[in-house]
């Protein structure tokens, strides 16, 4: 068993979050730019201490994960779950693994990735997406045209490749925020 799970994982901030009732107008405006379901989450209320970066970074996150067309949303969730595993973010992995399962209905595939990794992933497109996500996460300076060629061989077009790059890069960011500003609460601790 690995520590990665599809079960819900909580998150406890290491800084007191902003309180919605005492937030400044700038903090409230920045929270409005975030996904509606998450505006009052502990995580976003923690980031609201610095409203300038929350507003822009929240809007960037939204477009990277939810922009219409281009890379299939399930592939974005797969890539971000893989990046989160490589970076050791148990919280982010659980969220994005779960979304992959919701979008594809393929829980066995994600459970296998969580337990065993992606080296033996049977689906060639998923294997290529996951391998690229790992390579760009671990050693960006060593990524070459040969890595891009593996994506083309798996059938990704230009825009899909760009969307994948953005998703992988976004989780270099997201995992660092989650891992630094709080602690995961594993299912047995909740």
């Amino acid at each position: 068993m690995t520590r990665f799970t599809l079960k819900p994982v909580g998150w406890r901030p290491r800084l007191d979050p902003v309180k919605a009732e005492t937030a400044t107008p700038a903090q409230l405006a920045a929270l409005e730019a975030c996904p509606p379901a998450q505006r009052r989450s502990t995580y976003f209320l923690t980031l609201a201490h610095d409203p300038g970066s929350l507003g822009e970074r929240g809007a960037l996150f939204n477009i990277v994960m939810y922009a219409e067309g281009g890379l299939d949303r399930a592939d974005r969730e797969l890539a971000t779950a893989v990046v989160s595993m490589v970076n050791g973010c148990v919280f982010c992995t659980s969220v994005h693994a779960k979304r992959f399962v919701e979008l594809t209905g393929d829980e066995p595939a994600m459970q296998r990735i969580l337990d065993e990794g992606w080296a033996d992933e049977p689906d060639p497109r998923r294997r290529a997406v996951a391998a690229f996500a790992e390579a760009l996460t671990r050693a960006p300076g060593e990524v070459t045209a040969a890595h891009v060629a593996t994506l083309r061989a798996a059938g990704l077009d230009e825009l899909e490749i760009l969307d994948l790059v953005h998703a992988v890069a976004m989780f270099a960011n997201a995992n660092r925020l989650m891992l630094t500003l709080g602690d995961p609460l594993l299912p047995k601790q909740m």
Partner: protein, 167 residues
């Protein structure tokens, strides 16, 4: 860099009408908000308790540790423009900074968040609080140190795509 110039185009030497420039503009909001995050984190109108020079030295440190020469050169220039050129040596020094001053503490925090985020703990946050950094300063520091790895990976992948198109 002129205000309307895209940082990524500037560092890659691409233009908006080049094939890669055209492709990237199929995601105009990703460009706009990446540029916006850069502005809010590195050059904010109100920097609070984290000065423009301290922001630039943090960004330079992460770009160096991530091994991106072009991005490092850009942040070194931003640092000099912010009047913090004297801090460049601290960012460029190998190993863990040992001093008890603000810049040493910020660089130690940057190293951990950028290079080993799963080894951070509440004590890292408390260390910054003890030096007088406010919650806003600490969130801004963390956002900035976490944003440079985004830039590094976008740049690295786009360079690979350029290399492919020139082959």
């Amino acid at each position: 860099m002129p205000d309307d110039e895209d940082l990524i185009d500037s560092l890659l030497g691409t233009t908006p009408d080049s094939p890669l420039g055209v492709l990237r503009r199929r995601r105009p909001e990703a460009l706009r908000h990446a540029q916006g995050a850069y502005r809010e984190l590195v050059l904010p109108a109100d920097p609070g308790g984290l000065s423009h020079a301290e922001r630039a030295v943090l960004a330079l440190r992460v770009a160096l540790r991530e091994g991106d020469a072009a991005l490092s050169a850009r942040y070194r220039a931003v640092l000099e423009a912010a009047g913090g050129g004297a801090m460049a040596a601290a960012a460029e020094a190998p190993g863990t900074p040992g001093g008890q001053d603000r810049v040493s503490a910020l660089l130690r925090y940057a190293d951990r968040v950028a290079m080993a985020p799963d080894s951070t703990s509440k004590a890292d946050i408390e260390g910054l609080t003890a030096l007088g950094f406010t919650p806003r300063d600490i969130v801004a520091t963390t956002q900035l140190v976490a944003f440079v790895p985004y830039q590094v990976r976008v740049l690295a992948a786009l360079r690979a795509m350029l290399q492919e198109s020139r082959a």
